[in-house]
Homo-oligomer: 310 residues x 2
Amino acid sequence: MMPELNILMTTSSTLSDWMKQSQAHIEAALTDFLPSPQQTPTHLHEAMRYAVLDGGKRVRPLLVYAAGQLFDADYAELTRAACALEMIHAYSLVHDDMPCMDDDALRRGKPTVHVKFGEATALLVGDALQAQAFLILAQGKTAPARQLEMLRILAHSSGSLGMCGGQAIDLASVGCNLSRDQLEQMHQLKTGALLRASVLLGALCGQELNEIDQAALHRYSHSIGLAFQVVDDILDATSDSASLGKTAGKDAANNKPTYVSILGLAASQTLAENLRIEAHNALHSFTATMQNSRTQRLSQLADFIVQRSA
Amino acid sequence: MMPELNILMTTSSTLSDWMKQSQAHIEAALTDFLPSPQQTPTHLHEAMRYAVLDGGKRVRPLLVYAAGQLFDADYAELTRAACALEMIHAYSLVHDDMPCMDDDALRRGKPTVHVKFGEATALLVGDALQAQAFLILAQGKTAPARQLEMLRILAHSSGSLGMCGGQAIDLASVGCNLSRDQLEQMHQLKTGALLRASVLLGALCGQELNEIDQAALHRYSHSIGLAFQVVDDILDATSDSASLGKTAGKDAANNKPTYVSILGLAASQTLAENLRIEAHNALHSFTATMQNSRTQRLSQLADFIVQRSA
C-alpha cells in the first residue's frame, strides 16, 4: 500500500516521520519498478531485488523529494526519478563490493550480492540495474525535452566523468598521498555527482530551471555532497560495523586516503559543520522569493547528512 | 576525416565498399563520442577507448545504417544511435571476458581489457561505457518523444529482459541439456535483442513506425539475430582462434550447449540458410511499396551474417 500523498508532501510532519513515510513509498515503488522475481531469468531478478530492496537510508530519493518540494513537482514523477537514482546507487554498491574492487562481505547488514549469488551474477545484477534505471527514467511523463535532460544528467553523473570516474580515481589512490584538493575532486565525482543529480532531477520534475536556481541548487548539492563523504570518513573511523551495517575501519585497513587521515578528526568535524552551514546559505536564494516551507526538507536533510550516526 | 555522406548512402557501391566506408565512419564517430584520453581519469578513458576502438565488424552499426536507408533517416542521428549500440556491445564483451564470467584472454585479436588494465578497471570500463551509451543517445536531435522511445528500446534490449537476461540464462545453462527452444530463447535475449534494437533504432531515426513496418522489421531482425548466433556456433566449432580473433572451440571446452551440439553441424548450416531466406522474405513487405534499393543493404547484411567466415 502506498501512503497518502498529502502526508508525504506536507510540511507539518517531523523530519523523522517524513523520512519514514518517504522511505516506505520508495520501497513500494522500487518493488514495482524492478522486474518480477517470477519472470525469466528468475535467478537474476531475485538477485536484483536483493540488491535494491529492504536496505539503505535512501538519501538520494529523499533529496529528490526534497528538491521536488521546492518547485511543487509531480509526486509520481519524483518517485520515478528517485527509483532510477537508487538503482544506479545500488548497482554501484554491488560492483564496488566485488572481490576485484573492495572485496566486501557485508552491506546494509546483509551478505553482499556476490557472496550470496556468486560473482558472475553480481556482475550481471549491476549491469542490469543500470539499464533498468535508464529504462524507468525514459518512461517518465515529464515533457519529453525535459525528460531527455534528466536522462543526460543521470548518464553524465553516473559515467566516467561522474561516479565511475570517481571510482577509478579512488582505485588509483590506494596507498597514495592525495592532497585535500585531490581528495575533494575524487569524492565530488564518486559520491557527489549522483547526490547533485538527485537534487537536479527532483527540481526538473517541477520545472525548467533558470540560471539563478541552477546555481543555488549546485551550491547546495556541492556542499551536502562533500559533507556526506566527510561524515562517511568520520563514521568509518569512529563507528563499529554493527552500527554502520557495513565493514567499519576499512579505509584505514585498505590504506585509503580520507578526510580523517588528511585533516585529522577534529578538523574533519569542523569541515562537516561548515559545509552544513554553507548548504543552508545556498537555500537563502530561494527563501528570498518563496515561502520558507518550500526549502524545509532540503534544509533538514543538510542537517541530517551531517548529524547522522550511520 | 569523415568520408563523404553521399558515398555512404549510395546504393551503387558493393557491399564490401559500403561496409568499409561505414566502418571507417563509425570508427571516427566512436573516437569523438568517447571521452578524451587526456581527460581525468585518464587511465579509465584510455581503457574505455581500448575496449571500443579499432576492432570488430561493427555489425550493429551496419544494421542501423541499413535500416536507416529504408526510411531515409538523418545520417548523423544514425551514427549516434549506432555508436550507442556499439558501446553497449563493447561493454558486454569487456564484462563477459572477465575471470568471473568466461575468463577469456583474447578478444578481437588483442589481450582482453582485464588482462591489459586489471579486473577492477575492466569492471569500471563496462559500467562507464553503458552510461556513455545512454548519454550520447539522450543527446540526439530526433524529435524528443521519438528519442525517448529509442532510449527505452536501448535500455530494454540491454537489460534483464534482453542482453543481461540472456547472459544470466547462459550462465545457468553451462553443463545443462537445453532444448532447442530454450537455446533459442537464450540467444534471442543474449544477442538477438541488441541486433533487433539496431534495426529498430535505425528505422526510428527516419520516422515513426506503423504496425506493418514494425512487424516486418521484427521478422527480419528475429531471423538475422538467430542466424547470427547459429553461425557463431558453427564458426566456434569449425574455425581456429587466429581466424576468429577470439578463442575458438571454447563452447565445447566450457561444456556450453550450442546449435552444433544440439542439432549437429549439417542441420545448423541448413537452419542458418533457412533463416537467411526468412529475412529476405520479411523485406518483401517493404519492396511491395518502395523501390528495391531501399532494402538493399538489409538484404545484403542478411547474406553477410550467414556467409561470413569470422
